[in-house]
Symmetry: C2
Subunit: 185 residues, 2 copies
């Protein structure tokens, strides 16, 4: 693993545990087993590191989710697949999840940053389709996406403190129905 990646791994762990505030750059470098200088070689400022991590995580969840949806699926099937992919990915990557929550609710974040990512763009297109087909409530597509996202987040938080339900696919289906009922007409 190259040092840039090592740094991001360590930073993710420390940020999710101690927050942006509680994590010194020197500590990140030290625990990553690299020199202090190399951190600033790859990420000119601490903020750059934080933002780079955000885009990296979004990229990975995007590719993970996209690989799951298949062409012939109905709209509900596609939404279900994406919902489940997001839930499971976040459960399997708790540090990424915590990092994202912190980032998206910090002053770093803005709607512009959100909209700039392919993952969001693709989801919004799907929402538009659902509205056209009269399957979804007639609301702004971006809002529908944000609603789904926040329900995913809440679901993940819930399953994290109830790990015995994580393997119960029947229960997960019921949790999906919450999200589906929220957006469907």
């Amino acid at each position: 693993m190259d040092k840039r990646t090592k740094l991001m791994h360590t930073a993710k762990r420390l940020f999710s545990e101690h927050g942006f505030y509680g994590t010194a750059t020197a500590r990140i470098a030290k625990e990553a087993g690299v020199s202090n200088g190399i951190l600033f070689h790859y990420f000119p400022t601490k903020d750059d590191l934080i933002k780079a991590m955000y885009f990296d995580i979004k990229d990975r969840i995007f590719h993970y989710s996209l690989g799951q949806v298949y062409k012939g699926a109905t709209l509900k099937e596609s939404i279900y697949t994406l919902w489940l992919a997001a839930v499971e990915w976040n459960l399997e990557n708790p540090e990424d999840f915590d990092f994202m929550l912190q980032f998206e609710n910090s002053p770093y974040y803005s709607v512009e940053i959100e909209k700039s990512h392919k993952y969001v763009q693709m989801s919004v297109e799907l929402a538009e389709k659902g509205i056209e087909q009269n399957v979804f409530k007639h609301l702004t597509p971006l809002l529908l996406f944000q609603l789904m996202s926040s329900l995913v987040d809440t679901t993940v938080k819930f399953l994290r403190i109830n790990p015995e339900l994580q393997t119960d696919i029947e229960y997960k289906n019921r949790l999906f129905e919450i999200a589906w009922d929220a957006i469907k007409k």
Copy 2:
């Protein structure tokens, strides 16, 4: 206004704008027009200040919301009233809203802290009632509350970037239906 309150007001403004990380205690004291020492007289550590602010905000939204629900209301009416009260309070107090989002998604936060507040306890009781009456989905009451909360947050974020909709009560009712559909059986 006493200095303790002044400090909390200023801290709220600075935290919501620059984050916990980006706000120095000295700056809070200076902009509040009080001495540095008095901050640590009232709040022994910066963390104490942050936590005190959290409980203060929860208290205020609790009293605001509770004043709105009336005795004879049906379950749906009560939920609607609480939903609307939360949405409007957050829209009218954007700094409190931003602060809460940051706090609740930071390492400061835990389920224990959440459950410790009356506002949550009362909401959970309402959720229990709805489940018993077979009006709500049969899920953990706390989960139902958390779902509602996150939908309120998403709604507030949405209305903030679409201010022209904030006075449209018809539109707000449609937004409420999202939340209602999510939890109702």
